[in-house]
Structure formats: structure tokens, C-alpha cells
Amino acid sequence: MCGIIGVIDRGRKEMDGTQIRRALAQMNERGSGEGAGYAVYGCYPEYRDCYALHVFFDNIHENKKEVDDLLEQWGRIVHEGQIPTYDQPNLRKIHAPWRYFFKPDRSLMSWSPSPEDDIVTHLVMRINTDHRGALVISSGKNMGVFKASGWPEEVADFYRIQDYRGYLWLGHNRYPTNTPGWWGGAHPFNLLGWSVVHNGEITSYGTNQRFIRSYGYHCTMFTDTEVVAYLIDLLVRKHGLPEKMAVRALAPPFWDEIDAMGERERKLNTAIRLTYGPALMNGPFAIVVANPTMMMGFTDRIKLRPLVAGECGDRLYISSEEAAIRRMEPGVERTWMPRAGEPVIGRVNG
């Protein structure tokens, strides 16, 4: 059981973190105080062209130099510094959060169609699999993930999430069930522009992570949601599937439903299921995924976790509970329950 919420302003109007902090705290019954986190898009406009790498160091003196050297080998650190934190009575600062604004050197992977993204992905996988006291928790442009072990209000106050501004926010209130709670296991999970929050459990994790490993993605955070971020990156960024089709691969219709479709739809859905069999996610889940231009929510195909959507002007909200949406936006004009396995998508205009 976990609580999730996301909001996108299609007109890119910015919101600070005050309201999402309240909405997450509204769902404290869904958490256990062992993990909470936020993703915010649009928070680093002054470094919009750099990859913002958020890193958890075990300790800065010992572990940081190796990461510095590796980054300088692959590009240029434009700016760096500690992520400001503020002591909270019940939150132990186990890691030192640091951020780099990084520009990769395109010429070092000139064979790739997207050299910068591929260099950054390579660096994230390299640092996270080395287990040398450093963990990259977010790596997108003009966005960042802020997370820790604690209740949502504590984690928000620890980072002063209220002071960050962005047009798209995700939040997560964690109740770890299958692995111990730790800072790296808190949501959102991120790679490049993709961030994911999730309620449920991916029982096909073993199959999924074996599949994704053959494409160079390594799961290192001891929890299932990480694999979702990598699956989406593979399917949408690398294989070029539209987001809706990616959801068809992850939460496909049943075979009897595919059999009842018209010929064209049937062929398409059969091809997706056959091609991406090992990407199919089993088990109960409600997920919200975001990238810099869109936010998308979907559940498993038999709807074993709750998901509610709401709209107010330019804003689309997706959450585990309607009350959390109303806590964030009391004037919400319309709320509805998306159908199992069918994505709800909000995109920025233009």
C-alpha cells in the first residue's frame, strides 16, 4: 500500500511544493514513514541545458572524487553543490544529497543517435552498479527528485520542497512491503526525464529486470519500481513507441479481448504482446509516469490498486485518492476513475 499523486499544468504555470506536501500527508494512512519523495519539473531554469544529477553520497570526502573524475572524463561539470537540507527531529540524514549540473561531451559517443542521453544513462548505470558509496537518484534536465526515509511532511521540510517551483509534480508516500525501506528505495524513481511513482508490487520484477538488463539497464535499488522507469525509457525513448502503446506492452488487454478486436487493432495488439512479452508487468499496480512534456497514469489490467483523476482548468491531477486531489485543489471541476489498463495522459500545450 502506498499513496501517489501527480499534477501537470498544461500551460506550464508554476506551482510551489506547498500543496503537494499537504496532499501527500492527506494519505499518511497509505504510508509507514519509511519513505517519501517528490519530483519537480521546471525547477532549474538557470541550468536548463544541463543534466541535473542528484546524487546520494554515503560520505562526501571518501566517495565524491571518483564521481567527479568520471563526470569530467565524459563531459563538463558546469556547476555543483550540496542540495540544501534542514535538520528534522525524526529524520536521520543517512546520505549527503549533492547535485551536479553536467554537460556531456557528445563526441565521445558519436555513433549514437542520442549521444548525450546515452552518456548520462551509461554514467548512471556505472555509478549505481559500482556500489562505491554514490547513488544517482535523478538525471534529467531542469528537473529533480527529492526523497528520503521519513513521512512526506518531514521529507518535504528536510529539503524545503515548498521553496521549489515547477509546472509538473509527482509525490509518493511509501509503505514498503517486500524490501526494507531506505533512501534509495523511496520513490520517485528517475532516469533522464522519466520519473515514476507506484503503488502496488510488480510480481514479474525478475522477468522484467532480466529483459531490461540485456539492453544495458541495471536495477540496483532493491525494489520493483525502478524497473518501470527503465522499461518506459526503453520502450518510448529508445524504441519510439507512443506512450499509449508502451502501456499496452506493460499492461496489455487479455487475449480474449484482443480476439474480439477488428483486424487492424488485433494485429497491432498481438504484435505488441508477442514482441514485449517479457516487459508485461504482473501484479497489482497504479503508476504515474512523467517526463518534461507529459504526465500519464495507469493501473494493472484488472484494477487491483486505486487511481482517480481530476481536472481544474489547465491542470490534470492523478492520485490514489480523490480526497488528496481535493486537498490540493478544492475547486476541482471534474473527477473520474480511469479504466483498468487505460492510460490518462496530460501534455503541456504547444
Binding site: E29, F254, K303, P306, V308, E322, A323, A324, R327, M337
Partner: protein, 247 residues
């Protein structure tokens, strides 16, 4: 004794709220009005007696769980599982409700004006004179009446289109009946469920419940009863006997 007590639930935790509700009921109030409710869970759980709760706002999960006697009237939507394992009383929702409405319900009535989510009436059961009733004005999603062991579900589909368009109706049903206004495609029936004939006896059986439903929502009971109903029940009383035993 008697009278109405108002409670402002704004920013109040559910534990404190339920304590106040219990103390109001114990003091002999006949009506308790809760204003600014926003997602507080477990409202009226385990509450006994005949008190009437008016809930203004969004009722949180498990409204009226184990409740035995009181009436809850919600002016707004309800989150998951209102009427969970409820024993007696009435829940009236002037809005929609989430998944697993009337989950494992044992007695009383849950009346929802608009739509319900997935697994409505999952594992409802009955015992002698205890027959739980779930009635839905709008539409219901997949796995309606899953593992149903007793009781009555009625879905009117007033939201437009067919009342139920999703799979697994009565999956694993082994008792009770589901009435859906209008036709239901055969492919939507779950394993162990089958369509049964609807005659005068059946219409007569559901008529008093339909009248009560209509009176709560200012609807015309005759109109609600006028359409054709599809009745769905168990194919046998032990549809999975051979799966779990070697007799």
C-alpha cells in the same frame, strides 16, 4: 436526549472524528452532521444503534465497516469499500464510490446514486434473514459481484450506455443474485456465473428495494422498474468443488 449535533471535520484526523461521532451517538443524539469531511477513513465503523449521520464532503475508505444499525447519508463521493463487512443499517451516497463497494457485506443496504468502481459487492453473503443489498444508479466496472455468496445487487445504468460493459460479472459467484437493467453481453459473465430468467416473482422481490432507492434520490420507482432486467446468479452452489477437493 434527541436532537442534532454538528461536528466540523475540517483538518481532523479520523481517530478524533470517530471519537466525537461515538460520543455524540452515546449522548443520545438522533442526528449527527459532519461538515467538511475530506477523506477521513473508517467513519461510523462498528457503530451500533439507530443514529443518522449526515456526511458533507468526500467520505474516506471503509465507511460504515462492521456498522450495525445506523444510517449514513453522504453528500459527495465515497472512496473505496463503503459498507465493508457491514452488518446492518443503510449507507446512501449522493455521488459515486470507489472500488470494492459493499465488500463482504453481511446485512443492510448500500445505495449509490451514481457510479461504482471495480469489484462492487465482492464476496457479499447472506444468512437466514440477513440479506445485504447493493443498489447502483449509474454504471459498475469489472468483476461486479466477484465471489458473491449471497445478497442482492441491482445496477440501473442511468449514466448512459450499457449498465455494465466490463468483464468478469459474478466471477466465482456461488450465492445471491445480480440484476442489471438492460441486456448484458454473454462474454462479460465471469466463470461460474449464468443468466437466469426474470419473471413476475423476481420483479416483485426487488420492487420494495427499488422503491426505497428511488425515494432517497427523488427518482420514479415505476420508471426504474419498467425496463428489462438481466438476472445473473451462480451456475451451481459449489462451482469450484472439484478444484479444491478430491471427493
Amino acid at each position: 436526549m434527541g436532537g442534532t449535533i454538528r461536528i466540523d471535520a475540517a483538518e481532523m484526523d479520523y481517530t478524533a472524528l470517530n471519537r466525537q461521532i461515538r460520543s455524540a451517538a452515546a449522548s443520545g443524539a438522533t442526528e449527527v452532521v459532519l461538515d467538511h469531511v475530506l477523506g477521513q477513513r473508517f467513519i461510523a465503523d462498528g457503530l451500533r444503534g439507530t443514529v443518522r449521520l449526515i456526511i458533507n464532503g468526500v467520505a474516506g475508505g471503509d465507511l460504515g465497516m462492521f456498522m450495525s444499525g445506523p444510517t449514513c447519508i453522504v453528500h459527495g463521493n465515497a472512496e473505496h469499500a463503503p459498507g465493508n463487512t457491514m452488518n446492518g443499517g443503510v449507507i446512501v451516497i449522493h455521488g459515486s464510490a470507489g472500488d470494492a463497494v459493499a465488500h463482504s457485506m453481511r446485512g443492510g443496504k448500500v445505495l449509490v446514486r451514481d457510479d461504482i468502481g471495480y469489484r462492487g459487492g465482492i464476496h457479499m453473503k447472506e444468512y437466514y434473514d440477513k440479506t445485504p443489498v447493493l443498489m447502483v444508479g449509474g454504471n459498475a466496472r469489472a468483476y461486479l459481484g466477484e465471489y458473491m455468496a449471497g445478497g442482492l445487487i441491482v445496477v440501473f445504468g442511468l449514466g448512459g450506455g450499457a449498465a455494465v460493459t466490463e468483464r468478469g460479472i459474478g466471477s466465482g459467484i456461488h450465492g445471491g443474485e445480480i440484476y442489471i437493467r438492460g441486456p448484458v453481453e454473454d462474454r462479460l459473465l465471469g466463470v461460474g456465473a449464468r443468466k437466469l430468467p426474470v419473471g413476475d416473482a423476481e420483479r416483485k422481490r426487488i420492487a420494495p428495494f427499488v422503491q426505497e432507492f428511488a425515494s432517497h434520490f427523488d427518482m420514479d420507482a415505476k420508471e426504474l422498474l419498467a425496463g428489462d432486467f438481466t438476472r445473473i446468479g451462480p451456475a451451481s452452489s459449489r462451482p469450484f468443488a472439484s478444484k479444491y477437493t478430491w471427493e
